[in-house]
Symmetry: C2
Subunit: 365 residues, 2 copies
């Protein structure tokens, strides 16, 4: 069992990482002062596996509990699903002191969290992340939102949850590809924030893919704690938290280019990290050896080595819609060494093109 606190403008909130924790969701909610009613927002896949455990625990703790599901997959994170949730909350006569529990991966957390942030100007929110990405990254820090046709996460809010309950045992049922993709975000935390996390992932890579519960628990706790420390210092992403955008410049652009299909978020981030590391080697002094350590770790985790057939121009176009852009320029988080990220900075476009082509992008559109 391990609990740590994350600071936000609304006070501190606990992140509790405990194997088997989902069965104690009700007690966790009560300890947060939530006592009347909880609406569990989940996707159909996750709900089939875990909704029963969550609802039972809430009810045993004396809360009324309901389940609302959204279709699984990244394309659920849009305006239509947001509106459907708002209207479902209205139909369920949800009130200001009813809680929303986001039980699922990043999509459910972002979408359900944004619906909670905006219904009746904000309902209490509990994150119960079920994917690697959600457990180590997206459930912590209060970033919620949806995608627009023009780009990822363009509409959203900073809305801290009341608490996060993370059960690493839930990762046991993840599809293998999602497990691997999720671990890319762990590599990101290691590479851009805490060198020790990177080293532990190197040591545990085989065990992680083999779903060793102890290794998964260690990885989740290490990454989640690093993320928690970062957002405690920088809730609104004005400073150090930007380190977490490492790998996301290409990652987002790839998702936009492919319309959020075919490439998982973590796979895009893995490719983005390969690109950022190559740029870091050329302009930020990242030693060849460390760049290779990154690429080897990504290889061992079975993450993609080459971009899908997308044009360089299309990718660059997708980057221009990126939130990290300031004054029309595309900015890159670079890593001069393992565990350290630069502030976002521009990079010569010719170098960027060369690296993208090296990774398999088509020259041209």
């Amino acid at each position: 069992v391990s609990t740590f606190l994350v600071r936000s403008r609304a006070g501190h909130y606990p992140v509790r990482v405990v194997p088997g924790g989902l069965a104690r969701l009700g007690g966790f909610a009560r300890a947060l002062g939530l006592r009347r009613r909880a609406v569990v927002v989940s996707d159909a896949h996750v709900a089939a596996l875990y909704a029963w455990t969550a609802l039972r625990s809430l009810r045993r703790a004396g809360l009324a509990a309901e389940l609302v599901t959204v279709p699984p997959g990244e394309c659920s994170k849009g305006r239509a699903q947001l509106e459907a949730l708002w209207r479902t909350f209205a139909a369920l006569e949800v009130e200001r002191d009813h809680a929303v529990v986001a039980l699922g991966g990043g999509v459910v957390g972002d979408l359900g969290g944004f619906a909670a942030a905006t219904y009746l100007r904000g309902l209490p929110l509990v994150m119960a992340p079920t994917s690697v990405v959600a457990q180590i990254d997206s459930s912590i820090g209060g970033k919620v939102g949806i995608d627009l046709p023009e780009g990822k996460n363009l509409a959203g809010a900073f809305y801290p949850p009341r608490g996060v309950l993370t059960d690493p045992l839930l990762l046991g049922t993840l599809p293998e590809r999602h497990l691997r993709a999720g671990l890319a975000e762990g590599v990101k935390v290691g590479m851009a924030v805490v060198g020790a996390v990177f080293e532990r992932l190197e040591g545990d890579a085989g065990r992680l893919i083999g779903r060793d519960p102890l290794a998964l628990g260690r990885a989740v706790l290490g990454c989640a704690r690093a993320k928690g420390e970062l957002v405690s210092r920088d809730e609104f992403e004005a400073g150090p938290r930007t380190a977490l955008n490492y790998g996301h410049t290409v990652g987002h652009a790839l998702e936009v280019a492919r319309r959020y299909r075919g490439t998982l978020h973590g796979e895009g981030v893995a490719l983005g990290m390969r690109a950022a590391a190559r740029l870091s080697q050329r302009v930020a002094g990242l030693p060849e050896r460390d760049r290779l350590r990154l690429e080897t770790l990504l290889d061992r985790l079975g993450l993609p080595r080459r971009l899908p057939p997308v044009g360089v121009q299309t990718l660059l176009g997708g980057m221009v819609q990126d939130k990290k852009r300031r004054g029309g320029r595309i900015l890159w988080v670079l890593t001069p060494w393992v565990g350290f990220a630069s502030v976002p900075r521009p990079v010569d476009k010719r170098l960027v093109r060369a690296v993208l082509v090296e990774l398999g992008a088509r020259a041209g559109r």
Copy 2:
């Protein structure tokens, strides 16, 4: 010239009430630290009158400035317009340090403010209110949002602006019916919060309808300051700020029943105050004399005396969707005397029905 500060979780922000202030919008924005670009969100009516002044002032102060208009009227405050604004911001390549200026009445402030609150997880927001309701009430306090088919303001956020620039001279061009309806919110502040404001409105009623600039400036400043003090003490509407819901239980229900057509918000609030005052007289000890003072003031301001032909049941149904409801009960803010509001409390449904029928609602649906 008068400026006061409002406290919010994000720090204090200034509310500047100054005749002719709109021509100094650019300097106001710069003083708030906004220097790059401003997107002025307005409705077509207001834009025709005032957008040029606003844009010129911003540009003279060195900001790039653009105008985005929404259709005028309460039906603009919906999901379609929110999405249109999000997508327009994307098309304009709006970035995190670009400001949104909401130039208009309550609808523009709520809708433009909510779009600003949620685009890129929050853009800096300046309120430039142009209607009575917006100047004395809705521009202050950070409540932004949209309506859903199920009810008013069901989706939204608490999102404090960077600053509010109020120019009472802009009220000179308001359609008379809107001027009268807006003054109902001033009466509300007087009746439920500050007795002295109520007395000043009684003294100035004729001058206000005659658009005497001094009387309008006094009323705006007095009400805005009272509102500012209230929200400084209670940003998230957990305590004293609920006083401002006086008159809104019936007001909202009426708007829902009429689908936001035919009745202006302030007209609904005026009828809601008549209902709440009658209930206050019966169950909260409001003296007959003070109830008559309220009704007389509303009469002198030309505000409606009778409900449109709506069924009592329909109205009660609309109240159930009200955010002030807790545990399924309909709660009322009552006034035992002028300038003092009770906490929201339930009232015997038979009394409510009787008062609604007395005010002209049809018995039945």
